[in-house]
């Protein structure tokens, strides 16, 4: 079973069985991608076997909750406004802003 640490602003966000929006780490990171984050809709459960990934939750200042959760990412959400994802031209030089998939880096 994979293990993640997920930051939440408030432990009250972890509502059982409801869809929540949170940040989740790279699902299968190479070492250099361990701490990358993305926004996603997810479901959590206080029964740590309910979903395939177990999770420790850290709140505001990094305090780890003693409780263990399980989490299922439903889908990644891109909240970055689209203008930051388009091809642009600046100072006569063509360049491309970041592609939509934030985990697409090599």
């Amino acid at each position: 079973m994979n293990q993640w640490e997920v930051f939440v602003m408030d432990m009250g966000e972890l509502a059982e069985g409801k869809d929540i929006e949170t940040q989740h780490p790279h699902p299968q990171p190479r070492h250099a991608q361990v701490h990358l984050q993305a926004r996603a809709s997810a479901q959590v459960s206080s029964t740590w076997t309910s979903f395939p990934t177990s999770s420790r939750c850290a709140s505001g200042r990094g305090q780890l909750s003693p409780a263990k959760f399980s989490i299922k990412v439903i889908e990644e959400i891109q909240r970055l406004p689209p203008q930051y994802l388009i091809i642009g031209e600046m100072q006569g030089r063509r360049w491309r802003r970041g592609a939509s998939a934030d985990f697409s880096g090599s």
Binding site: H35, A38, A58, L80, M90, Q91, W95, A99, G105, S106
Partner: protein, 495 residues
């Protein structure tokens, strides 16, 4: 520290390191940096080495081999000791703090030296250029500085370069930056900071993205300028500190100019309409205070870097690291300049780094009633004010660099009712560990003045108590006799 005389300052005498690389070499030569040949992990290990070096006051670690990142290196704790600060200014590493302060005041009171913009092809920071789909922060050895941080921190000892589009004011500031994803960083930008004001005054109301460039691996004097709360534009301040024009170069994707000799440049735009989570992070107060929150988003468009680039790391925590040492140093001296400019007869201003730049100690000739309050109001009301909340004013007979004397003055001369003045609802930082969650959210502060001066209306003979010390109560001839016989009495010599 006396006011500097511009004529006394001879630029040609300065031989300060011009780049991060020259500085590392100078530190190694002086025994103030160690080369670490074995591989270190960017995830916690490098940070732990830097932290321990800070807590021991040890040599700066130059880590030449980083796991996953061949060709890159780290330089940690660059300015966490006064010895390395002296080296950065081209001074003898053994220089005393008052000597370093005097030099800083002399240089920063000299004429501004404008920077020069060099051709891209001559700029070391352009040796490698990543644009478009190649942009990926994971290609840089971004460290996880402390276990429990909210992410890997790209910017811990760096300068975020921005420019006001109308006034043209250039700002270099150290705003921490966390890698959120491979092309996005988030950071803490306080509303009272220069960048915070630029954003709230111009970019945010118009919904326009703000071009930025983050320069990492700066020359130590460029880092000093980015850290100093000076009213002088940082590129000119670097020139004044180093005695020659700073070398700048144009960015690839915006009109900003960045230090040409920096190790790494990250170009991009600050999004006016999008925030992502940042933090928590180990902070200069020695705590992880500011909780994870939605903060300023830096979207990355281009990365340039030198061959064999060295990333600088500041690991903030309990004293003492450069966040405390350099900030205390520059805040104290900038306040001294401010007070002198207002005609206050100060004898010196000092912030002990262990106060985590929270307490100003001001020495003054107690020339008139209310002078301590005037000092506090000027200090708290200035641009420097949000960064500290305590001002202690002592007389000119107290050595402000000697904590024993300052502590004695505080405990014996500060009247609990008349000498402590509290200022409420002032500007504060969200990083104050003692602040309530509400105060942190809105940067609300409180300030306190400890007035340790004898009241001016006390009769100096009858009302002011006599200080009972070796130097103060014995006749000169007795003092000299005791001093000359000290070792004959059987005591070891005192340096």
């Amino acid at each position: 520290l006396q006011p500097s005389n511009k004529q006394e300052f001879i630029v040609s005498k300065i031989s300060a390191p011009r780049s991060n690389r020259e500085f590392i070499e100078a530190c190694v030569k002086a025994g103030d940096a160690v080369r670490i040949k074995q591989e270190v992990d960017w995830e916690n290990e490098a940070g732990a080495i830097v932290r321990r070096a800070c807590e021991l006051g040890a040599a700066a670690p130059f880590m030449e081999k980083i796991k996953d990142y061949p060709g890159f290196s780290y330089f940690g704790a660059p300015l966490s000791t006064y010895r390395r600060m002296a080296i950065s200014l081209g001074m003898d590493p053994a220089s005393s703090l008052p000597e370093i302060g005097k030099e800083y005041l002399a240089r920063t009171n000299s004429e501004p030296i404008a920077p020069v913009v060099i051709d891209r092809k001559d700029a070391p920071c352009k040796e490698n250029i990543l644009m478009g789909a190649d942009v990926d922060l994971c290609k840089l050895p971004v460290p996880l500085v402390h276990d429990g941080d909210g992410g890997r921190y790209v910017g811990t000892w760096h300068a975020v370069v921005t420019k006001h589009p109308v006034r043209g004011d250039v700002n270099w500031g150290m705003y921490r930056q966390m890698m959120f994803d491979s092309r996005t960083m988030s950071g803490a930008v306080f509303p009272f900071s220069d960048l915070g004001k630029q954003l709230s005054e111009y970019y945010l109301p118009r919904g326009i993205s703000c071009p930025f460039a983050t320069a990492i691996g700066l020359s130590p004097l460029a880092a000093m300028a980015a850290c100093a709360p000076s009213p002088i534009p940082e590129p000119e301040l670097v020139g004044m500190l180093s005695g020659e024009p700073a070398r700048l170069v144009k960015c690839e994707t915006n009109d900003l100019e960045v230090p040409a000799d920096a190790e790494i440049i990250i170009e991009g735009e600050i999004c006016p309409d999008y925030k992502v989570e940042e933090g928590p992070f180990g902070e200069y107060t020695g705590y992880r205070t500011s909780p994870r929150d939605f903060r300023v988003t830096f979207r990355v468009n281009c990365i340039t870097y030198r061959n064999n680039a060295t990333m600088t790391i500041s690991n903030m925590g309990v004293p003492q690291d450069e966040g405390q040492l350099l900030r205390s140093f520059s805040l104290g001296l900038e306040l001294e300049k401010l007070l002198r400019s207002q005609g206050i007869p100060v004898t010196g201003v000092y912030m002990h780094p262990r106060s985590t730049h929270h307490m100003m100690i001001v020495g003054v000739k107690p020339a008139y009633t209310g002078i301590a309050q005037q000092i506090a109001q000027l200090a708290f009301g200035s641009k420097l004010g949000p960064w500290f909340h305590m001002v202690m004013v002592v007389d000119d007979q107290t050595d402000i660099y000697n904590w024993d004397e300052v502590y004695h003055a505080f405990c014996t001369r500060c009247h609990p009712e008349n000498g402590i003045h509290i200022y409420r609802n002032t500007t504060g930082t969200p990083l104050y560990p003692f602040a309530t969650p509400h105060e942190r959210k809105y940067s609300i502060g409180s300030k306190v003045l400890f007035d340790c001066l004898w009241p001016v209306d006390w009769d100096k003979t009858n009302d002011v108590p006599t200080l009972v010390s070796f130097k103060n109560v014995y006749p000169k001839d007795i003092q000299e006799r005791v001093l000359s016989n000290w070792t004959a009495y059987g005591y070891p010599a005192v340096k």
